[in-house]
């Protein structure tokens, strides 16, 4: 079962009409993910990450190609695929409980109010917001709003969780706590996750695999980096692991130089779009070789 393709992106292309003609954001992308995988995607701003995520969510359609989830082609949004939006997208006229309950009652339409609220409260509790159920989004801090977004997405018990830079608007401390919570929840529930991030450390802490995307237009998924760190890593010391710097430097090196020059690299190394190479950083590099850089 390990090689089962739970999510399979098959040759998707996205073109946009612009005043000067059409731009191809990316073309002929292939990628597959397994059930229970936590995949992060990293790439420079504007390369098309959100577009890929929206296609996975069914909110956008590819100009060409298909995405197959659980042996079925995506034909639109689905309750099986929950989205955590970058801008949290809470409904301001509903309370915390109301926002989560809205999702719950959308999934289980014949549930009575008590059952819906019980399910909603369970997930509000899971993200540590018990006591704030009756507040409206305007009364919450940025971190709390993002937690509501997470609770709302998880409350419908989706097969796949899609996250678009969920923590980028938060301060470092809140971000850290939420990363811990998301990781804990995803590990215990075996959630399949696809997440966009610009933060290399976040990717190394959370992801099983990090997909590296080249700069657009005509972006490609250049590599999948397998996370060599142990599954039981902890946020306080995962960066002391011997393989941490090797992994980090590999990703940063890609972002700084290879993301621009990969088009050249592709021509010479016989790059196969259908089989994106899986790289496993193994050598511990000099921890002082690279300045501490985060992707833009």
């Amino acid at each position: 079962m390990m090689t089962e393709k739970f999510i399979s992106i098959e040759g998707i292309t996205k073109r946009f009409k612009t005043p000067g003609g059409t731009t191809t954001v990316f073309s002929d992308l292939w990628l597959s993910m397994q059930r229970g995988d936590f995949t992060c995607i990293i790439g420079h701003s504007g390369c098309g990450k959100t577009t890929v995520l929206n296609i996975l969510a069914g909110l956008d359609t590819p100009s060409d190609g298909v995405v197959i989830v659980d042996n079925q082609a995506i034909e639109g949004p689905s309750l099986d695929r929950a989205v955590i939006f970058q801008s949290h997208a809470l409904l301001p006229w509903r309370t915390v409980l109301g926002n989560v309950a809205y999702a719950v009652s959308s999934k289980w339409r014949n549930w009575d109010k008590a059952k819906v609220e019980a399910q909603a409260k369970k997930f509000i509790d899971l993200v540590g917001l018990t006591g704030a159920e009756h507040k409206r989004p305007a009364e919450l801090s940025g971190g709390m709003k993002q937690r509501v977004g997470i609770a709302r997405a998880l409350s419908i018990e989706p097969k796949i969780l899609l996250m678009d830079e969920p923590f980028s608007a938060l301060d470092a401390l809140t971000r850290g706590t939420l990363q811990d919570e998301v990781r804990r929840i995803c590990l215990t529930t075996g959630q399949t996750v696809f997440m966009i991030t610009h933060d290399v450390d976040e990717a190394i802490y959370l992801a099983d695999r990090v997909v590296l995307m080249t700069n657009g237009p005509e972006a490609v998924m250049a590599e999948m980096v397998e996370n060599p760190l142990p599954k039981d890593r902890k946020r306080i010391d995962f960066h002391r692991h011997p393989l941490y710097y090797g992994t980090r430097n590999h990703i940063i090196d890609f972002l700084v130089t290879r993301s621009k020059s990969f088009a050249e690299e592709m021509k010479t190394n016989g790059f196969d779009r259908r089989n994106v190479p899986l790289v496993r950083p193994s050598t511990a590099l000099d921890p002082h070789a690279s300045p501490s850089l985060a992707a833009e």
């Binding site: 689905s78 997208a89 409904l91 006229w93 809205y102």
Partner: protein, 279 residues
């Protein structure tokens, strides 16, 4: 000087009112006998010319008369002599009815226009042409087709309240944040449920702003409409008292029109606040 701003503003308002009433009083004070003339001629000229009494009533005259009206607002002595409360009641009822009809048409139609770019484009030329027409220009046509002056006034109110609500509803619905719609889409919420759980609450502040503009216009128009159709209502009252040369009553009516207009506006303002949630 630590008096709160509200109190200072209130005191200043009272001062402005006092100054205004004072100036009014001084300007309309009688000047005594001004001219000697033959009694016949004097009779013809009336008190204005003979005793120097101003043709404009002063604040005291108005105050006394207002008190009389307030003591018995609902008397009814036949078609030309009804209490002010009754007259205002007629006007408010007409505005309410025409306005309600306009809400029933404008909100669903605005939804349709806001949700469908096709309908929006197709109906736009009609709205653009119909919107700038003075509601009173419809009056003859209304009288001719409806053949009832009261209903015609209601129709005119309907027409004039329609446009701001229609345009605001369409705009509010079209401008609902895409991410909220995406939330509904990812939750597979059907079109109908989406309309009243996401679009309606999101567009409600804009819709109510349109409704507030409409009620203001409707109240402006009802006075003019009732002057034209006659019979009852505060607009008719103003016209009737003008024909009776009772300037005191005209001034009182003007004051009440302003107060009721303010009240209607405040009600809508409060409703708008009730549906507005900061993000």
């Amino acid at each position: 000087m630590n008096i709160p701003l509200g109190l200072r503003a209130g005191l200043l308002s009272i001062l402005v009112l006092a100054l205004f009433l004072g100036a009014w009083h001084l300007a309309t004070r009688g000047t005594g006998v001004t001219q000697q003339m033959s009694p016949e001629y004097a009779k013809l000229m009336g008190l204005t010319a003979t005793q120097g009494k101003s043709a404009m009533p002063g604040p005291v005259d108005v105050g006394i008369k207002l008190w009389e009206h307030l003591k018995r607002p609902f008397y009814d002595n036949g078609p030309n002599d009804k209490g002010l409360g009754i007259q205002l009641g007629y006007s408010i009822a007409r505005v309410g009815l025409g306005y309600l009809l306009a809400v029933l048409v404008a909100v669903p139609l605005g939804f349709l226009i806001g949700m469908s770019p096709l309908m929006s484009r197709a109906l736009d030329p009609f709205i653009q042409v119909l919107k700038p027409i003075s509601p009173l220009a419809w009056m003859p046509l209304a009288l001719y087709t409806i053949k009832d002056s009261g209903l015609s006034a209601i129709f005119v109110i309907f027409i004039c309240s329609l446009w701001p609500m229609l345009i605001n509803t369409a705009f509010g619905v079209a401008a609902v944040r895409k991410e909220w719609l995406n939330v509904a889409r990812t939750l597979e919420v059907g079109a109908f449920r989406r309309a009243y759980t996401v679009i309606l609450p999101a567009a409600a502040p804009t819709i109510l702003t349109g409704m507030r503009i409409s009620i203001g216009i409707a109240w402006l128009v009802i006075v003019a409409a009732e002057m034209l159709v006659g019979g009852t209502g505060i607009g008719y009252f103003v016209w009737n008292e003008w024909n009776n040369l009772s300037i005191v009553n005209v001034i009182i009516a003007i004051l009440l029109i302003g107060l009721v207009g303010m009240l209607l506006d405040q009600v809508l303002a409060r409703l708008t606040r009730m549906v507005t949630f900061p993000e």
